[in-house]
Point group: C2
Chain length 440, copies 2
């Protein structure tokens, strides 16, 4: 019987800080990184499962240690049985009676579960010969509900309610799957908006966004109010009145400060304000949302599990839910989050960018459209044109839309030569940088 | 100028699971562990700073990796300047622009900050020749406020309000410090109540609790309702009507289930119900508290930062706040939590037990009494009679009260021979266990 034989875990880092790519009010100098895992089996099919947790540099070695800590819970499992019950596998990892102390269900240990669960989804989809979005979209409502851990969310969403949402969408799934493959899924671009870019670069990238057919962009804010006003004015001038312009404060403010800052920027017609304060402060979000209404709030990339999403939805505190592919415990928990969002009627606009997050999260958005919410209205997946060249199956975004991925798997596989070059600290990219630093 | 020269980080584990010590509804088999750190300097005074994060076994190596990740932010700092501004040091560690992605302010990376910050408090107190509770209690209100990171809590507590709380208590500090050294600080015992103990052991340990002078015990609940009723009846019979009997569900329930379970146990006169559901679910706590009123709820050992405590207090969801010495970012953040609790008038009954948590947290409770809340009413520090023999300055609990520690420092120092014996996986205790397992 085929078994899982090993988790091969690697510390992969890209020196993005040198270009100010990804710079925002709280993270001025990220080095986009992947705590990368390959699930090996003793099968003869030649397939492996690839997954990762995304971090921004320092500490990626802690993330790889956390993935390694899950190996004893996964290695030795029978492949067929494990892949046919990924909901059960996910619960075993999340609720391990000793490891849960490190969270519970948050931070490094939870992102480690994401990496492993996602790698197993990649393997399952490769063996099925289908991309994950399609594999999920072809599952029965009962199979999908089985993926969900209802612990701590049953007061907001019962298995019966989840089934009803999925059954309602089921009869029309194939129409939407067809349309998706023709039209693609809406994307928005955050490429222009990093705080570390000067006005000329902002201007140029805004023009490019228009030319490339995007109808939504996002700018980072929160360092200086006058700077924000100036940059929003530039973007509006370059992009025109029809462009949706969202802004992202990356947790910069306290509650009172957020209210004042957002009110000051409100005349700039903000599509949403993202992460105005601590992602943990669900009451703070609710207070801000009430005070700045009708300006909509968005959050999710640092919302650490379904329990936190549940509360944001119960409070009506967010108008857009930005799930992330590797922050919560992988595909399974994101299915729970999609169902919660559908229950509360809040559109999901996934967080992406970083390294490989676009590649992964497009599958979840497409599944949402086909089998859960059934809508693309007010929905778009973030897109940032960074680091896709390192992936075996990079995303394809054309005229502001993600094309449906066709390759089997989850799209998480980084090219072998990139894994080698950006291995930390011994890959060529880092050895060169260290050598360069010596001459400064 | 004296500098910090190294963080020496060790993985220390005690095989407590073999005795069912610490067994509860979610953690049936903990191996109490310390991700232990020693801060070395190049000073000639011979002092080191000792600290740790507490975990329950598997994953302690992830916790040690996280502490190690902080070393570059600490090593090389000047000792005097660092120790005179531990508030600033704590903020530097918490808000590191890359490491924060691993939390932010939660889980493994946040507990790593706790270990390092607490180790520096230990060093500072040793150099001052005072126990931490006294050092803190002798600080000026302004110095204490400088320790607090008001980010994300200014909507609930301003620096001015914090100063007012501290100034109000200042004139009568010395009376309370004197009384404390005579009377000690109230303790309650959780020793009798582990789920893995049989009825005879429960009965015996309840009798011992009475004999030892405790006026509060705590029992684990949540595995089986009839079992809980039977164990509560045994405890009441053995301990009498005057004993305060608290119960602890260790996150076992969903919201609806918690309400039904607590109502079923309410006739047993529960002093509090601890962790009925996910520690993240502040709205769930509020819903449960409303539904089971007047049964009081308690939480804190898994409440991951001041932002979460703030919300529990804003909602009036908890009647007892159970801060933990190593879950949030060490002494500094716990000072913030004590001030928040004082502002909202909620008594603090710290979580302890594990390994070394009693040794640390008694200092915070005593500081609270002398300089913050000024009261011991409805307050007690958890006490469990486990593993104290491994500490250089073990807690002293007599007639149900913690005696004030007199040794300089934070009490975190584990004896060198214990560090050696319980080093994982190469210490004698683990080598013996592995050898024993071979013969099974």
């Amino acid at each position: 019987m085929e078994q899982i034989t090993a988790l091969d875990v690697r510390d992969i880092r890209f020196p993005t800080s040198s270009q100010a790519d990804g710079s925002d009010a709280m993270h001025p100098d990220p080095d986009y990184s992947a705590a990368y895992v390959v699930v090996h089996t003793d099968g003869t099919h030649g397939h492996e499962g690839h997954g990762f947790a995304f971090t921004i540099g320092r500490g990626n070695e802690v993330q790889t240690a956390a993935i390694q800590a899950l190996a004893p819970l996964v290695v030795g499992r029978p492949v067929a049985e494990t892949l046919s019950n990924l909901g059960g596998l996910g619960k075993d990892l999340v609720h391990d009676s000793q490891l849960r102390w490190l969270g519970p269900e948050k931070g490094v240990i939870h992102m480690a579960v994401a990496a492993v669960v996602n790698a197993l989804w990649d393997l399952r989809a490769k063996l099925a010969g289908k991309p994950v979005w399609l594999l999920l979209s072809e599952s029965t409502p009962e199979e999908i509900v089985d993926l969900v851990d209802f612990r701590y969310i049953s007061d907001a969403l019962t298995p019966e309610e989840a089934l009803a949402i999925l059954r309602k969408a089921a009869p029309t799934r194939s129409e939407r799957a067809t349309r998706l493959q023709v039209d693609g899924y809406p994307a928005y671009t955050s490429t222009p908006g990093w705080l570390g870019y000067d006005d000329a670069k902002l201007r140029r990238l805004c023009r490019e966004a228009v030319e490339e057919g995007f109808d939504q962009i996002k700018l980072k804010i929160g360092r200086d109010l006058d700077e924000d006003r100036r940059r929003l004015a530039i973007a509006r001038t370059e992009c025109g009145l029809d462009m949706r312009i969202a802004v992202d404060a990356n947790q910069r403010f306290d509650v009172g400060e957020a209210i004042a800052w957002i009110r000051a920027l409100a005349p700039h017609d903000l599509w949403w304000v993202e992460e105005p304060t601590s992602p943990d402060d669900v009451l703070g979000y609710a207070a801000i949302a009430r005070a700045v209404s009708p300006v909509p709030l968005a959050s999710g990339e640092h919302v650490h599990n379904r329990v936190m999403f549940k509360q944001l939805l119960q409070l009506g505190a967010i108008s857009y839910l930005q799930l992330d592919a590797t922050r919560v415990a992988g595909v399974n928990e994101n299915v729970a989050v999609l169902l919660l969002a559908a229950k509360y009627g809040v559109p999901v606009c996934p967080h992406a960018g970083g390294v490989g997050l676009c590649e992964l999260v497009q599958h979840l958005a497409m599944f949402d459209y086909v089998a859960v919410s059934g809508s693309v209205e007010h929905r778009a997946v973030e897109y940032i044109d960074h680091l896709h060249e390192h992936f075996v199956d990079p995303v394809v975004v054309q005229r502001g839309r993600y094309r449906t991925p066709r390759a089997p798997g989850f799209g998480a596989t980084i090219r072998p030569e990139s894994l080698e070059q950006f291995a930390y600290p011994d890959g060529a990219a880092w050895r060169e940088r260290a050598a360069g630093d010596q001459w400064k």
